[in-house]
């Protein structure tokens, strides 16, 4: 297993060297790297599904690394896809490290006896992920976006089934004791430092989420499917999470977080905006899972938040957002992909905050 893992990395690194020397184009480099990933990822997933259960019992480095690599492939697919869509793709090499993030989440969710059915789904997601990467390399943007959503949904839904069964904590603890396993070993200088940080951070988040679910503290996420609306100035990319967005203070996202807000109706957008001068309305058919539904009184009760705390509109923004911004951070930190929230500007209106643009068509 270890040999295969490093074999993949070495294949990738060889391609990267050629790219750095100008011997191949970036597309060729991505293609070569992804091919290696496809081979390794599918093989590893299949191995996990068939013989990997024995390895689970060992709880050693081998377990962590198997889970890491398997999940890494799927996550690499959608992480890269996201970045390509946002124009931030920085080379497939960076996603090796990012892959660890999804692998850890997947690893926690994959714990215990429910491993096998999950792996079946994960295997499909891995193949889809690789298709995404291949499509990306060929410049098929639309297919890329669609597949990104499917890969994310596939991995996430499979994980959700496990956490609902309360089978997440033991592997979470195992991973907590295996933090050293986050490192892949043979790393090259060009692997971005930020991915190193994010892998560790996501491990913490995943463990936290795993504990929360298993203890029944976290409300169950819900799926939204339907048409949502948002406004953007004419000519603006309506799906862009700009640094200006991240720097600003919004109801559920304080400076430093960022997110994309959508509304359940055009009239809600208009009420939120006040003036629509120069604005264009955009609609999106969205299917987003694992959203924290704050319009549900039972959910609010479970987390101890009152409706009035969510729709305060009478004081300073600091007062208005005193509960909601921490809620946004808490929700993201605990693995929710967004929030369904009552509008504070339109009675009966609903806003949906997405922490990233991955689910938008």
């Amino acid at each position: 297993m270890k040999t295969l893992t490093f074999g993949w990395i070495n294949k990738h690194d060889a391609a990267r060297d050629k790219y750095d020397r100008g011997e191949i184009t970036q597309v060729d480099y991505m293609g070569a790297s992804l091919e290696a990933g496809v081979e390794s990822g599918i093989y590893l997933t299949a191995t996990m599904a068939t013989g990997g259960i024995a390895g689970i019992a060992t709880k050693g480095m081998s377990l962590t690394s198997r889970l890491l690599i398997t999940g890494a492939v799927g996550n690499m697919g959608y992480q890269a896809a996201d970045d390509i869509v946002k124009g931030e793709f920085s080379g497939a090499g960076a996603y090796l490290k990012a892959g660890g993030t999804g692998a850890l989440t997947g690893g926690i969710f994959r714990g215990s006896m429910a491993l096998k059915p999950l792996l079946g789904k994960a295997s499909g997601a891995v193949r889809q992920g690789m298709q995404v990467m291949k499509s990306a390399a060929k410049g098929k943007g639309q297919a890329l976006k669609r597949m990104t959503t499917e890969v994310k949904s596939g991995l996430h839904d499979a994980g959700q089934k496990l956490v609902q069964k309360g089978k997440s904590s033991s592997v979470g603890r195992t991973l907590a004791n295996q933090r050293g396993g986050v490192r892949f070993g043979d790393r090259r200088a060009y692997l971005s430092q930020k991915f190193r940080g994010s892998a560790t951070g996501s491990l913490d988040k995943s463990i936290s989420a795993g504990k929360g679910y298993s203890q029944g503290i976290l409300p169950k996420g819900v799926t939204f499917e339907g048409t949502l609306y948002r406004a953007a100035k004419a000519g603006y990319d309506p799906k862009l999470i700009h640094p200006g967005n991240i720097a600003a203070s919004h109801r559920y996202t304080g400076p430093g977080q960022g997110g994309l807000y959508l509304s359940s109706g055009k009239n809600i957008v208009r009420a939120e905006m006040g003036s629509m001068r120069g604005m264009k309305m955009h609609s999106f058919d969205v299917k987003a899972s694992n959203l924290l539904d704050l319009t549900n009184p039972a959910v609010r009760q479970k987390i101890g938040a009152k409706l009035n705390d969510l729709v305060r509109n009478s004081g300073t923004k600091a007062w208005d957002y005193q509960v909601t911004q921490p809620l946004g951070r808490w929700a993201k930190q605990h693995g929710y992909r967004g929030i369904i929230a009552p509008s504070a500007q339109a009675d009966g209106g609903v806003n949906i905050l997405l922490f990233n643009i991955g689910v938008l068509p």
């Binding site: 100035k233 919004h250 807000y261 120069g278 808490w330």
Partner: protein, 156 residues
């Protein structure tokens, strides 16, 4: 405040560079949803407590990387006002103090907002820390100036 003006809300943070002690203001936009603040940009004067707020054009906003569009925005507004002392304070990073409480009420007790770390407008080091947050009206009361460029109105 004109009826069709775009309403702007936000607050001013005073930044102090931990390296050269330069102090400068920066405007933080605020609104319930991101579309309310979308496309707005605030420049700071490098010599006086003054903030200029305007809107980025579509090409400036959509630019990748965003820094390219921001640079064009600064140049355009500076040319428009015939100024050469304006700069858009850049946030270099955010400091997050994370708690991992699954219980939201416990999380809320320990929560601290993320703090932006600015690039100093004088020495360029990424060591500008927020030392104070004030409302636009307090900023003006203390001698600061806020200029709006375009059809904009500021809620104070």
């Amino acid at each position: 405040m004109k009826k069709n003006d775009r309403k702007i809300e936000g607050y001013i943070v005073w930044i102090e560079c931990q390296h050269c002690n330069e102090k400068f203001p920066a405007f933080t936009f605020s609104g319930d949803i991101d579309q309310v603040t979308e496309g707005l940009g605030a420049l700071s004067c490098m010599t006086d407590p003054e903030i200029i707020i305007s809107e980025l054009t579509a090409s400036e906003w959509n630019s990748m990387p965003p820094e390219v569009g921001i640079k064009k925005f600064v140049q355009r507004v500076s040319n428009l006002l015939d100024r050469d002392d304006l700069i858009l304070p850049v946030i270099a990073s955010y400091e997050h103090s994370e708690t991992d409480d699954a219980n939201f009420q416990e999380f809320l007790k320990k929560y601290k907002p993320s703090m932006p770390v600015y690039k100093c407008i004088k020495c360029g080091r990424e060591s500008g820390r927020v030392i104070r947050t004030i409302s636009p009206s307090d900023f003006k009361a203390e001698g600061g100036a806020i200029q709006l460029v375009g059809k904009l109105s500021l809620k104070t």
